[in-house]
Amino acid sequence: MSFRTWYESQKQTRTFHPGWIVMAVGGALVVAGIIAIPATLVAETAPPPAAAAPPAGISDHGKAPGTDMPKVIEQTPDPARLRNAKTIQVDFSPPPDEAMPTGEFGQAVRLGKAIFTDTQTYARQYVGNKLNCVNCHLGAGRKADSAPLWAAYGMFPAYRDKNKHVNTYEERLAGCFRFSMNGKAPAPDSKEMVALVSYSYWLAKGAPIGVELKGRGYPTLPEPPQKPDAARGKQVFEANCALCHGADGQGTEMSGRYVFPPLWGKNSFNGGAGMSKVKNAAAFVHANMPLGKGNSLSEQEAWDVAQYLDSKPRPPDPRKGKSS
C-alpha cells in the first residue's frame, strides 16, 4: 500500500475519522514536550514568578534521596594508611619545566611533553586505544617509581629479552606505541618520535649514562604470601579502584577526554604491553594507586587486583595474532 492509494481511499470515502483528532493532539504534545525541555532549562535559570510555588508534595514523587546516587565508598581514614608507608628515594631530580630551553630544540621538548601528556591529541594517528603516555608514567614522566623518562633514557641501547636484540631508546618508545597504546609506532625520524626523545633527553639532563637510577621503572614487589587471586582482587578493585575507573573498568570520560583511563577492553593496552603482566601491574598499582595514595594498598592487595585485571579481556598481543 502506498501513500497515494491511501490518500485516494480517503478522498473516496470522505469519512472523517475521530482518530485524526487524537493523532493531531498527541503529535502536538510530543512536539511541545520536545520544545519544552530545553525551554524549561533556560527559563529556570531566571527567578520563577512567586505564583510558581508548587503544591506541597509535588516534588516528592516517591523516591527517597540517595536511592540513585552512585555508591560512595566511605572510609574512615586510618592514619597509618593515610601517610605513605615509605617516601620514595631518588638520587636524581629532573630539571623544572621553567628551565626548558628555547629555540628549535625547546620546541621539540615542549611538543614531546604535549604528546606525552595528551597523546590522544598530539600523536592521534599512532594510537589505537584511549590511553595517554602519562597514564602509566605519572607526573608527565617525572614521577619516581612510575617508570620515569629520566631514569629510562640513560639505559639504552640495551638488549631486551622481549625482542631478543639490542634496542635503541627510539625502539623502546616504539614498543610503547605498539603494545601499551595498541597502535603503530611513529618512524624514528618522525616529528613525534624526535619530540619524545628530546623530552626524555632533556628530563635526563645531568643524569649518568648506563647507571640504574633509584626510582626507575616500577619497584619490584616481593612474591605475595598467598597466590594472587582474581576473586579477592575484584573486591580490592571495587573498594579502591572503581571510584575513578568505573565498576566496569572502562574509565571516566568527560567531554571527549578520559580523566581516568580504561583498564581493560578495546580502549586499553593490549596483551603484549608490559602492564599486561601481572607482576608489572601489581608493582605499578602498589607504588602509585590510588592516585596520591601510593603504597597504601598491601602487597597482597596489589597482587590480587593485578590478577583481577589480568582476568579481563583486552586487545590481543599483535605478535601472536599472525603467527598462530
Partner: protein, 248 residues
C-alpha cells in the same frame, strides 16, 4: 517499506485494507489511533511535568526558602554563583550527587559547618533532592572576566592545579577534578570558579582532618601534603583559572 507500514497504521487506512463490514458504523473509533494518541499525550505530559517538578521545587526553595529554611540565594547568590567576599561557595553547575551528599553530610554532622548544619537539618529528604537538582541544572562556571594578572602566586597555583608536585606524591587537582576543573561527577566536584576563600577554607579543613567526608580519604591525602603557600596559590588560581595555549 517503512512508509507503507506507517500508512497502514494511519487512521482510516483499515477501510482500504479490509473494507469495513457494512453493519458497523463508519466512524467507529480506531483502537490503534486511540492508543497512539493516549501514549503521545502521556509522554508529553510526563516529560513536561515529572522531569522538571524537582527543579521547579528546587528553584522555589533557592529563591524563597521553605519549611523554615532560608532561601539558598541569600548566601549562594541569585544564580548560585556564590559570594566571593564571604567565601560562600558556588553551587551552580555543581554535580547533583555531590550537592546532595554534602547536604546530607551537613545534616548528619559528617561535614561540620555551623551555618549549614541547621539549614540542612530543616530540609526534608525531598527538599534536599530538589535543591541539588536545581543547582546542578544551572550553567557551570565560564570565564567571563579576564584571568588574574599573571603573578608568581597565580603561576604557582596553575602548576599545582595542572601538574601537582610528584616529588612529594601530590597529584594535580585536575587529575581528578577534570581537565579544566569542571568536576567529574559523581564524586569529584567542580573547582573552577569557586571563591578563593572557600577553596582555602576547605583545603585547610581537609589538611587538619576537620573535613573527612571524601571517598577513600583521597582529598585528605592530597591536602596533607600542601603548604600554606600552596593552598593559597591554588585557591587563588582556581577562582579564575586559565590555561596556557596549546603547543603547536
Amino acid at each position: 517499506m517503512p512508509l507503507s507500514f506507517i500508512v497502514a497504521w494511519m487512521p482510516g487506512s483499515r477501510n482500504r485494507v479490509l473494507p469495513r463490514p457494512p453493519h458497523l458504523p463508519a466512524r467507529a473509533t480506531d483502537f490503534r489511533s486511540l492508543l497512539a494518541g493516549v501514549v503521545s499525550i502521556a509522554w508529553g505530559a510526563t516529560g513536561a511535568s515529572l522531569a522538571h517538578a524537582d527543579r521547579l521545587a528546587g528553584a522555589t526553595l533557592a529563591q524563597q526558602g521553605g519549611g523554615g529554611a532560608p532561601a539558598c540565594m541569600t548566601c549562594h547568590g541569585a544564580q548560585g554563583e556564590g559570594q566571593a567576599a564571604a567565601g560562600f561557595p558556588r553551587l551552580a553547575g555543581q554535580g547533583q550527587a555531590y550537592l546532595l551528599k554534602q547536604l546530607q553530610a551537613f545534616a548528619d554532622g559528617t561535614r561540620k559547618n555551623p551555618q549549614m548544619a541547621p539549614i540542612a537539618r530543616s530540609l526534608s529528604a525531598a527538599q534536599m533532592r530538589d535543591a541539588a537538582d536545581y543547582y546542578a541544572s544551572l550553567p557551570g562556571w565560564k570565564q567571563t572576566t579576564a584571568p588574574h594578572t599573571p603573578s608568581a602566586q597565580y603561576a604557582q597555583g596553575l602548576k599545582i592545579a595542572t601538574e601537582g608536585d610528584w616529588t612529594k606524591e601530590m597529584p594535580a587537582c585536575f587529575a581528578c577534578h577534570g581537565i579544566t576543573g569542571e568536576g567529574v561527577p559523581p564524586h569529584f566536584p567542580a573547582l573552577a570558579g569557586q571563591p578563593m576563600a572557600y577553596t582555602q577554607t576547605q583545603l585547610n579543613a581537609w589538611r587538619a582532618a576537620q573535613r573527612t567526608n571524601d571517598p577513600l580519604g583521597l582529598m585528605q591525602a592530597v591536602a596533607e601534603k600542601m603548604s600554606d603557600a600552596e593552598i593559597a596559590a591554588v585557591s587563588r588560581y582556581l577562582e579564575n583559572p586559565s590555561r596556557p595555549g596549546k603547543e603547536k
